[in-house]
Symmetry: C2
Subunit: 143 residues, 2 copies
DNA sequence: GTAGGGATACTCGGATAATGGGTGTCCGAGTTGACAAGG
DNA sequence: CCTTGTCAACTCGGACACCCATTATCCGAGTATCCCTAC
């Protein structure tokens, strides 16, 4: 029961894309170098974000990734679900007498409490209380 | 990012112990058979619950497991943390300029939203709206 | 009747697979832009 | 000037390997209860 590293990579990459100049496409090499990971692996992670319509990829020279849609719309939940999937965290595989499991039910409710928080929290909000020098730091080191 | 099966086993076992007559010790064989799993593996899972002071084990003939403390105190969170551990679900392993990660911070907040729900939710509450025949069903098939 | 000694029914803990998902690498394929040569 | 061809910089996708936690099994050790026997 841990988030995968891929989720971490995705969130940090997306935070960087939010901070980046609007409409600019950033190469995966740049993104990978900042997180000290392999570019090919990061591209695999980002392809999931493309499928989820969070970002857009352009091939060829000067290609790379950029946000798809307004940056204010990027919530934590969208990113996480794009990587981890939308399935329930808890699956009771037992054969019960009644069709549904009471335990499963409350576990689902607890997940909804978390998802509700994550869906309302946008990546942009992280930048509200940061001055210009702080933004520059994020652009270099992901804060 | 999924709960382990062990958590499922632990929750169902504990729900059964809550329903069981007060003070009775239940053998692991009975508990395992209902969930259709191996008794030796279930005992391994339950040993974690013993370490967490949720249940108590008595060896020897007629031995088994029983609740430790009042059944009204058994929250979902206690069981889950006994199995999954208390660590944070999200760990940003990146070297940042500033000591703490903004992303990590909000992820921790989202976890707290879920944990708050799980800590307030007790296993006993699942039985409130169930009649006596329903309780009997749980005693046989874990509902 | 009472004390002692098995036999039995249990849990506990370590050692040891088997399995599957996360993590990561490699490489070929396809795409785009820049540049140069040739008409 | 315009076209065309080549090259380099990219992403994409599949195939593969590795590592590690989960899941599970097996077995010996310890422990408590019951019963039976002997005195």
């Amino acid at each position: 029961m841990k988030y995968s590293k891929a989720t971490n990579y995705a969130l940090h990459t997306l935070l960087f894309l939010v901070v980046a100049p609007e409409g600019a496409t950033i190469g995966v090499q740049v993104l990978a170098q900042m997180q000290k990971i392999s570019p090919t692996y990061l591209s695999k992670v980002l392809s999931k974000l493309v499928k989820a319509n969070l970002i857009e990829s352009t091939t060829g020279v000067n290609g790379g990734y950029k946000l798809l849609g307004p940056k204010e719309d990027v919530s934590f939940l969208k990113v996480i679900q794009a990587i981890e999937g939308t399935g329930s965290l808890f699956n009771c595989g037992l054969k019960h007498a009644s069709p549904d499991c009471l335990i499963q039910q409350t576990m689902a409710e607890s997940e909804m409490a978390m998802e509700q928080y994550l869906s309302q929290k946008k990546l942009v909000e992280l930048l509200q209380n940061i001055d210009e020098t702080g933004l520059a730091a994020i652009r270099n080191t992901f804060n």
